[in-house]
Structures are given as C-alpha cells and as structure tokens.
C-alpha cells in the first residue's frame, strides 16, 4: 500500500512463508512500487505477528511425490526468489525492513536485501536454518551474506553454525541497524527513519546506481549489468 511517500509492503499468510504465490505477489508489488517511484519515495517491508518470514515453503516442496521432485520444487522457489533480491538491490528508492518477528532462511535473506534493517530486542531471531536442515545454500544467498555482513565470524556463525541471532547480538554484529523493545516502537522507528530518508528527496535512479556499486559481486551473480552512466544534474 502507499502511505504518502512510503510504499509499505506487508507479508501475509501462514508464517509468512514464501510460497510460489507469495513470491509472485511480492515481486509484482516491488515492480508496482518501482513504476510509481518519485523523488522521496521509500519502501518499508514488514509483516505481522510472530514471524517476519520463515523462508521458502518447504511444506509445499516436501508434498511432492519423491525426493528429487521435492528438490525440483525447492529449486523452483529458489529461482523465483532470485528476481526479488534483484528488484530490491535495484529499487530506485531507499528500503527499510522492519523485522517484527522471526526471520529464517529466505526470510532472513529478504530482510538483508534492504538498505536498513530494524528488529525487536525482545522477540524474534534471525536464523539461517539451512545447515540444520541439510539444505545447500543458493549461490546468491551466500554472496548476499558476504556483501551485507562485514564480520567474518558473524557470517560463519550465521551460515555454518546456524546460530539463532537475537536482536541485541544482531545489532552488536552489525547485521541490523537498530532494535526496539515492542512492535509499536519498532514500527515507529521504521517510519521515522523512512521520513528522514524521504526528506532527502533523492533521485531514485542515482540512488539505485550508487547502491549497486556497493554490491558488485551480488549484482554479478544476479545478472544485473553494470549500469550505464546516468546524467547527473549538476
């Protein structure tokens, strides 16, 4: 939905799992926001309740007939989710993830795709469940983690140890930008930040190009070409 300058993307559904339908919805919403972008636009992505998102819909994958069909379904979702990461990395406006609950696997990845991430100090964990589930990581997941998390040991703890990272630790490790003690305060903090960013009235195309230049390896693996020079308004 649009609230003034802000595009607010709210995930719905059971545990806010990224099923093929949810993935398609999120993707079309992002493209909608992109098409309506103006100077001062900001995207806020959030959810409701206990989960921000618990990742791809493994239940749907498992309900396939065989182990190889389950793997195919998982690959299908991994491939469909990729354009969401690409859209977020190239969105012509600042992006803020307000992580009001648990964010696991692709849900954690979704949060990390944003320029700014807030979470709760009292509830919810960030958790890359793949190592515990015995599921290999898609290449672009690992590249995203290396692009967005600076600490070598934090990456190791998140990916190789499957640590369930609570708010305070996430802030300390530089994974999130702030934590708040209640859903109210958290959403307020997200909106306040969005207002500050919107007030800068940035040119979205320039913003996008500068963001992409921060993550060249990620852009490479997502097939986002080197942006053509944009004529800046000097």
């Amino acid at each position: 939905e649009k609230r003034g300058d802000f595009f607010v993307l709210t995930l719905t559904g059971d545990e806010h799992r990224l099923s093929p339908a949810a993935i398609a919805d999120v993707l079309s919403s992002l493209r909608e926001a992109k098409s309506q972008a103006t100077r001062g636009s900001v995207l806020i992505t959030t959810s409701q309740g206990r989960f921000f998102s618990n990742g791809l819909d493994l239940g749907w994958a498992r309900s396939a007939g065989s182990r190889s069909e389950a793997a195919e379904r998982l690959n299908h979702m991994v491939d469909s989710f990729r354009p969401i990461v690409a859209e977020l990395i190239s969105l012509p406006m600042p992006t803020v993830a307000v992580v009001q609950g648990h964010a696991a696997a692709a849900g954690f990845v979704l949060a990390l795709c944003h320029d700014y991430v807030f979470m709760r100090s009292d509830r919810g964990v960030l958790y890359m469940s793949e190592v515990d589930l015995g599921i290999p990581l898609p290449d672009y997941f690992t590249v995203l983690f290396r692009a967005k998390i600076g600490s070598v040991s934090a990456r190791r703890d998140a990916l190789l140890r499957g640590t369930k990272i609570r708010g305070a630790d996430a802030a300390r490790l530089g994974i999130v930008d702030g934590v708040k003690g209640s859903e109210e305060e958290l959403k307020d903090a997200g909106i306040r930040l969005a207002e500050q960013l919107a007030a800068r009235k940035w040119d979205g195309e320039i913003y996008k190009v500068i963001r992409q230049s921060l993550y060249p390896e990620l852009c490479g693996v997502l097939g986002l070409g080197v942006s053509k020079p944009v004529l800046s308004k000097l």
Partner: protein, 234 residues
C-alpha cells in the same frame, strides 16, 4: 610426527613430540597431516568434527627452514602445504584448531584454516614471522588472511607489522574465537565445542559446500570448485 585418533564423533589430529618440539612443518610431517585429513574425510559421518592440536610450548613454528638453505626447498614445502589448506577448506565436517602454544608463519596459517580457533590466554603467541625473516608470503597465505581476518588493521598488524599476538588481543582482533588459561583447559574447551557442534549432526557434504561458499577467492586460488550441486534432504 602426528596422530589421528577418533573419540566418538571427534577426529583428533595431534602434532606429537616432546614439550620443546616446535612441530616444524617439514615434508614428512606435511605428508602425514595431508593423509590424516584424507583419512578423516573418508570416515566422515553426520556429526563428525575435526580438532587439530599439538603438544607443548609450540602449536607449530611453521616450515622447516633448517633444511639446507635453498629457495627450492622452501618452495617445495609451500607447494606441499597448499593441499592441506585445500583439504581443510573443503572438509565435510566442522573444524577446530586448539592452539595450545606458539603458532608462527605456516603454523599460524594452519590454525586459521579451521572454522573455529581457540588459544591460551596465558601462553603462546600468533606471529607471522615472514616480514622479520625477509621471506615472501605465498599467494594463498595472503588470500587466506584476507578471507579469515576481517579487520583491515589487524591484517596490517599481523602481516606488515610482524606483531606477536597474545590470546586476549587475538580475541579482540577477531582472529580467534576464545581463550582459556592452561593447556588442559584449552584442550577441554576444544573437546566441549567439538561435542556441541557434533551434536548438531550436520550433513557434512552440505556443510563443506557452505564453507567453501564463504571463501570463494581462497577456493579460486586453491583450485577448489565451488557450488557443486548437493541434493538437499527435504
């Protein structure tokens, strides 16, 4: 020399010798370490963990420079150490280095190849002696340090400053994960960590691929293929 023993899920690789032995990585020891790692790999099951440690005052003082002085001999040891790094970076199980004494040059590099590094708070230093000895760094050493040591100033202090780093400092710089007072204590801590990681019963194939994904540049220089498809257990 070195021994490989199995205690439950844990593979314990010990560089053996009396308390003054500085466990120089000469060609014979390098060959034994490599075959021990391959042995552990061949026997790997879910929940397997490798712990590498040593005995006495030194973890390892690096390559055996006492060999008749010849650039060719040093070059041979540099060449023989590379497959050890490659094995450790691709080992299908978590790895812990229990650095109970001094670790210098290739000995420090050996420790850094592990997922987790513990050292003593009361004794022992980490030291890259090459700058003081006037020896060039093999290319893969530089890549290893950049992959594993996040702090730009820590890398400079270690490689360019030839700093001798004691336990507490090593933790502060993010080079090691923990320190313990005494040889017994640090070895017990290593075993406890090993058991904790082993109890997660991770799929070693998935784990090894994930680890390689965290260090793509290092894999590149070691000739290790990254992103081999692994069938997930859904």
């Amino acid at each position: 020399m070195c021994t490989l023993e199995k205690r439950g899920n844990l593979f314990i690789l010990t560089l053996t010798g009396d308390s003054d032995d500085d466990h120089r990585l000469n060609p014979a020891l390098l060959a034994t370490i490599l075959s021990s790692l391959r042995e552990a790999k061949s026997q790997a099951t879910r929940g397997a963990v490798l712990i590498t440690t040593s005995q006495g005052k030194f973890f390892s003082n690096g390559f055996d420079l006492g060999w008749p002085e010849s650039a060719k001999r040093l070059h041979q040891m540099v060449q023989s150490f590379q497959p050890i790094v490659a094995e450790l970076i691709s080992l299908p199980m978590p790895t812990i280095a229990v650095v109970q004494g001094h670790a210098a040059a290739a000995g420090f590099a050996l420790a850094l190849c592990h997922d987790y590094v513990l050292m003593r708070s009361d004794k022992g230093v980490l030291y890259m002696s090459e700058v003081d000895l006037g020896l060039p760094l093999p290319e893969y050493f530089g890549v290893l340090f950049r992959a594993k040591v996040g702090s730009v100033s820590a890398r400079r202090d270690v490689l360019l400053g030839g700093m001798k780093i004691r336990g507490a400092e090593a933790v502060r710089l993010g080079i090691v994960d923990g320190v313990h007072e005494g040889e017994e204590e640090v070895k017990e801590a290593g075993m406890r960590l090993g058991e904790e990681l082993g109890n997660r019963k991770w799929d070693g194939g998935v784990y090894g691929e994930m680890r390689k994904g965290l260090y793509p540049e290092l894999c590149g220089v070691l000739g290790l293929e990254v992103g081999k498809p692994v069938l997930p257990t859904l």
